[in-house]
Structure formats: C-alpha cells, structure tokens
Amino acid sequence: MKDPVDVLIIGAGASGAAVAWSLAETKMHILCLEQGGWMNPAEYPSTGRDWEAKFYGEWSSSPNIRGRPEDYPINDDNSPIKVVNYNAVGGSTVMYTAHWPRLHPSDFKVRTLDGVADDWPIDYDALTPFFEENDRMMGTSGLSGDPLSPLTHPPMPQQPLGLSGAIIGKAMNKLGWHWWPSDTTVATMDYEGRARCINLGHCTPACAQGAKASTDITYWPHAVRAGVELRTHCRVREITTDENGMATGVVYYDKDGVEQFQPAHVVIIACNGVGTPRLLLNSASNRFPNGLANSSGLVGKNLMFHPYAQIYGYVKEPTDSNRAPPTCLWSKEWYDTDLSRGFVRGYGVQFVRGAGPVFEAVVSEQKGILPWGADHHRVFRKLNAHRLGFSAICEDLPEEHNRVTLDPILKDSHGIPAPKIDYTISENSRKMMEHALARGREILETAGATDICVNSPIPWGGWHLLGTARMGTDPERSVVNEWGRSHDVKNLFIVDGSVFVTSGGVNPTSTIQAIALYVADQMKQRLANLFD
C-alpha cells in the first residue's frame, strides 16, 4: 500500500502543469501521474532531413495514426472532425501552433448577449490575473494594443511580419479589415532559459530550439524544483471512491504495466475534453453507476471542437514557406455576433504563412492542382513557397448530442475502454464556415492568389477539446462548480478544457491554463474548508 498523497493530478499537459506549479507553494505532497514520458528535443522532427515525412507517421497529430505506446486509440469514425492530441509531459503543448489568443469578455456571457447556450458562472475579470500570470510563465510574444482583442502585455515583441505577413497585411488594408500580429508562445528573445526562435518552421510538432513554450520546459521544471512529484508512463484506469462518495485515489498501470493503487486526499483531473470524460465514465461504480461526477448526466456531452474553415491559395511573390512559425497574424473582424450574416456568434482568423516542399507536393497532388507527368515540375515551382492560408476558428455552440462515450469494443494497450466520439457540425456553424470561406476568398484574391483550395472542416482539426464536464452553479446543468470542484464528489476537481461552457472563436490553451491557475487559487484560498 502506497502512502497517500495530499493532491493527485492526472495529466501533465497544459492544465496539469499549471495547477501543479500553482499548488506547489502550499508545500503539500503533490503527485502527478502522466501516461507519457519526458520528451527529448534532440529527436524532434526538425533535427533531421526527413522532418516533413515524420508528420505522416510517428509525429502525426492523430493518436490513431501515430500509435505510440503512450497514446490511446479514439473511435472518431462518427465525426467529420478527427481528434488530435499529444501524450507526454507537456501534453498537447508539445504539438500545437502556439497561437495565443484569449477568450473575449463577451464569450463568458453568450446567453445574456446573444440568447444562445449558457453564460459562464465566472467572468473574464475573474481570470484576468491568471491570464497575466500564465503569459509570464509560458512566455508570450506579441504587440500590445489590438483594438479588437482583450488587452495583453506580452513580455516579448511580436514575431517578424515576414514575407507572408506583409502580403496579408496589404490585402487586409485594401479591404479595410482588421488584422494584428498574433500573440504567440514563441519566444522572440531569450526568455527564462529558453532560446529565441530561429525559424525552424516546422514547429507545430515540437520545437527543437525550445523557443515554443510547452509545459515540459515552462511550468514543469519550476514545479519539480518546488517539490511536485511527476511519475511518467503511468496510465490511470479509474478513480476510486469510498462509502461517503469521496474520491480515495486512483488505480493506474505503471511503466511496467503493473496495476497500482495510489491513495489521495484530493484528485485533480487534467486530461482534456476527451480524456477527462473517458476517465470519469470508466470510474463508474455501484454508487456512481453512470460514471463518476455524473449526476447531471452531462459528463461527455456538449463536446465542442471549433470547426476550422480553411482556404488557401498561391501568390506570385515568394512567401515564408516553412522558414517561419506557421502562424503570424490574426483577425477579429468577424468575431462578434452580427445577425445580418445569417448566424449567431462568430470566428477568429489565423493566417498561415506557408508550407514545406513535401507537404506542398502531397497536398497539392491530392487536391488535383499538381499533375503527374511532364508538367509536374513547372506547376510545383509555381506552388512551392508561394502559399498563403486563412483559417477561421468557428465558435462551436454546446449541443448535448455531440459527445464522448465509451466504445464498447475498442480498448487501449492496457485494456481500458477507449473513447468514442459522436459529433456533427451544426447549421449555425456551417453558415459561419461558409461566411468565413467567402471572406477568405476575398482576401486571397485581393492578394492576387490563384489555385484557391478549401478544407472545410479541416478533417484532422480536432485540436480543441472542450465542454464535456462543464462548469456551472446548477448541479443539474453542470458537472463542476464555478471553481472547478465536482458537484458530486467534493474532493474531485477538473481543470482542463472540459469545463468550458462555450468555446469562443479562438485557440483555447491560454484560457485553459488561466482557468487551471484560477482553480488552484480558489483551492488555496479554501484549504481549511475545501470539502464543505
């Protein structure tokens, strides 16, 4: 029998790292169990000549394609958007674009403002100090003062505009539309032990330079130095409870595949919007027959992805290709509700600088714009290093039929039932995507682009996993309360994207981590009566 720990965190990704670091100052015995291991930057794709090919195999963003021992399979056959993630210390911050917008203040009040979905039980102001703290910890770059975004204070200057950014900026100016250099977690100067960006380009699947913030190189070194224990290659099967309905610990498989029980006084789940409901549903018991913390019946429901509407084309001038981080600018021109557009809510835009030669060849051949035969070379030279992209991150509203359940057949390598995704794109989202594609086409044509192609939705675009254990004040309509504690199990907390009530129209990692820090702060303030 292992000694109990004060706090057991499941998952060492974006939110698990933040909550571990924040709670470390309490000097409690904190243990984090992570199913993956520590990453080795010397093995990252950009260190080899075959860097692009790796994206189709061991460095695929899809766990189903990647199939590393640390991954678990996901049945997403019944979804037009496939789940992508990464399982390691750092979680999916190892493999993300580092685009760093926040939810807007209006995103927390969508029922009040627009009459749809639900308001959050917290507001933007409650998170403001944690956004700021998180930006310092992750190390952000950007330009303060965007008139259409919440005010941020990035500690580092924005990325260079580059060739692609200048072309996009000119086109947006011609059209009179908003654009701004994106806040990112790419270090543009040496920062807290991280080296500045040297434009490796292929930075979504991990940054060999360490310029892109992932929590294995930001939060975790601090948390470990402060005494947090991080146990890797440990996959949690279920959370156990006692006769009083309190969590008692977890059953997990250690690095040798041996079943272990780890007792704990407090359990915090940080497994993302798919992994968290999977774990809660796998923790069903006589006392909790429908899954743990699921008296509302909402565990796994209201899955929100952000359907991505992507359009791209080719200009005559050279673009940045793979010689820069992929994202550089955003636009909030269509972020807020304007019912004359035919849909409610809106979308953020992230512009994409370009692609490398292998990706360009493979995708263009699939799209039918790069021919086989003698003309292949001429056409490839017209396309390669001339691409500009526009991706709209469309706000997905919560719908209960979009959900995560347990697959009755599929299991991971430890025999634990795998998650199953059922998801459809709503009519509102479809109209939003059509609107975005039309605006994207205008921008590209204004920039002089031809050979315009569309990916809508981006099929392997399920990066943002939100809403499946939503927060709220009503136990019948939410899974956790307004400070992340389960309504049903008073020593169980959730800090990842599952708790989102609505999704906004931006990449969510900044907000996920701010929420994790906020929940940790709430816990610290209530330590004397945490379970009341």
């Binding site: 000549r49 090919a53 189709y56 203040p105 330009l143 260079p160 200048a166 060849a361």
Partner: protein, 149 residues
C-alpha cells in the same frame, strides 16, 4: 502476397514505373525522375509503417492492369494509372505520398529548388521583420471590443 516488411520484385518494378509517371526526369529543371535508383532506394529503405498500404496499392494497380503494370504499353499505363488514382483510396494516396516525400528530400531536387541540403535545426532561417507601418491603418481605424454586461 507481399511480406509484411518488404515488396516483391514485381511490386518494386511497378513502384518504379508509377513513380516515373508521377514525377518524370526533366532536362529543363535538371532533376531526376522519381524512378531514379537513389530515390527508389530511399523509398524502399524508409517504407516502414507504410509498407502494407503501399503493397496493397501496388497489388491494386496490378489488378487494374491485368498483368504487371510495368509491362503495359504507355497508353494503357496512362489509363490504368488514372483509374488507380481516382479509385485507389487511402492506399493509393499513401503510395503517392511516399513517392513525393522521398523525391522532395533528394539533394539534386532540393538544389534545383534553391533549397539548402540540411535539416532545419540548428541553423534555422532568417525572417525579414517587414514594414510595420502597414499596421498604421488598423491602428487609425481602431474599433471597440464588445463588452460583457
């Protein structure tokens, strides 16, 4: 049937033939075709997890051809290849991707494209800072962030 981790002689010959159809050699651009021995060797050496799908694609191609694809005359080859690409699904897409990912990392091809023969790390690339006065109209236009009640 193919073994799990290698292609038969007939499959290798068909791979070489279809690769040359996808990317033929060019005197104009001074590049080899994808049937070049070094590029073919790279494909075979790095097939790895793609072996099964590529083998399936090549078997599919041979079935369309009714005989070894490489032995068809040029006109028939073109017709079979078109049918293969349009109906070959994931296996055909994988085969084409394997051809292209090996072709576009060959030294001679990269040189022809004006690209350096190296991994991105550790040298990286230089990105021009650009003309930030482009942002002046956006600043002048300003705008208002939608407030929450």
């Amino acid at each position: 049937m193919s073994a799990d981790n290698q292609l038969t002689r007939a499959q290798r010959e068909d791979l070489r033939t279809v690769a040359a159809m996808i990317v033929p050699a060019s005197d104009e651009y001074k590049v080899p075709g994808a049937d070049d021995p070094a590029i073919q060797a790279d494909m075979l050496a790095t097939l790895g997890r793609d072996t099964k799908l590529v083998a399936a694609a090549l078997d599919h191609l041979a079935r369309f051809a009714g005989q070894p694809f490489a032995e068809l005359d040029a006109a028939k080859r073109d017709a079979v290849a078109q049918e293969f690409r349009s109906s070959g699904g994931a296996a055909a897409a994988t085969l084409v991707r394997v051809v292209l990912q090996c072709y576009y990392r060959d030294d001679r091809v990269l040189r022809s494209l004006g690209l350096e023969l190296r991994a991105p790390f550790p040298k990286g690339h230089v990105l021009p800072d650009g003309d930030w006065s482009l942002l002046d109209p956006v600043k002048a236009r300003a705008g208002t962030l939608r407030r929450a009640p």
